[in-house]
């Protein structure tokens, strides 16, 4: 999947949980979910579950702990859909 397509899909998933709208409007690969978008830990779990449904993948506990930024999320999704 092309990076811009992947980011667009992630943005759609993340949007309902975002607290900082400005950070969301300026979202890049470097954006972090908790630090920049001010998403709480419970909604971070919702995002992971939505990502699993959207891409039909299963994310494990250790991977979830690494999914702190858009870039990290993209890397994990890419590794899963490629395999």
């Amino acid at each position: 999947m092309k990076n811009e397509d992947l980011i667009a899909k992630l943005k759609t998933i993340v949007q309902p949980y975002v607290q900082d709208e400005d950070a969301f409007n300026n979202l890049s690969e470097e954006t972090t979910f908790v630090g920049d978008l001010k998403i709480n830990s419970a909604n971070l779990v919702d995002i992971i579950l939505d990502v699993e449904d959207e891409f039909d993948i299963r994310i494990e506990n250790e991977e979830m702990e690494q999914m702190l930024s858009v870039k990290a999320a993209m890397a994990i999704v890419n590794s899963k859909i490629a395999s």
């Binding site: 830990s41 779990v45 506990n61």
Partner: protein, 149 residues
């Protein structure tokens, strides 16, 4: 893990403990009860000269039985002598249908929707003694065992 052990691990004390007992618990859900004593502190002010159990207290009762007790049960393999449950309410959406007056016993029935990455989300209903639905909703919380070392 039995009911007595779960109740002992609850981090609440009166006047903010709203669980008397559990009659059923499994990986999928829990049923428990609480009797609102006529002496509960909040009846003095809610409402003046007309005591009615506040909705936030009913929500708290649903959360303590439906999410926290169930969550402790689900964490049973991770909870040890040195690791106690650390909990936080993260969302609640509840609709109310009937009032609960001083002295009433309520039954809470909770069904697990999802428990992953330490987040527990449940559909919870609260019934009165006549088995009428008092309120229902969806409540979520984060539950983690936390070490004291």
């Amino acid at each position: 893990m039995d009911t007595e052990h779960i109740l002992k691990l609850l981090p609440y004390e009166p006047p903010f403990l709203f669980v008397d007992g559990l009659s059923r618990i499994s990986e999928e859900g829990v049923t428990g009860n609480y009797t609102f004593k006529e002496t509960e502190y909040f009846y003095k002010g809610h409402f003046r000269n007309q005591p009615v159990t506040p909705g936030v207290i009913l929500t708290e009762c649903m959360a303590q039985i439906g999410v926290v007790c169930l969550g402790i049960y689900l964490l049973k393999d991770e909870i040890t002598e040195n690791f106690k449950p650390e909990i936080a309410l993260t969302s609640s959406a509840v609709d109310f249908y009937l009032p609960v007056f001083p002295g009433e016993t309520v039954t809470v029935i909770s069904e697990k929707v999802v428990f992953r990455f330490h987040k527990l989300k449940c559909n919870v209903k609260l019934f009165n003694q006549k088995e009428e639905l008092v309120c229902r909703g969806t409540i979520s919380g984060m539950l983690k065992p936390k070490g004291n070392d």
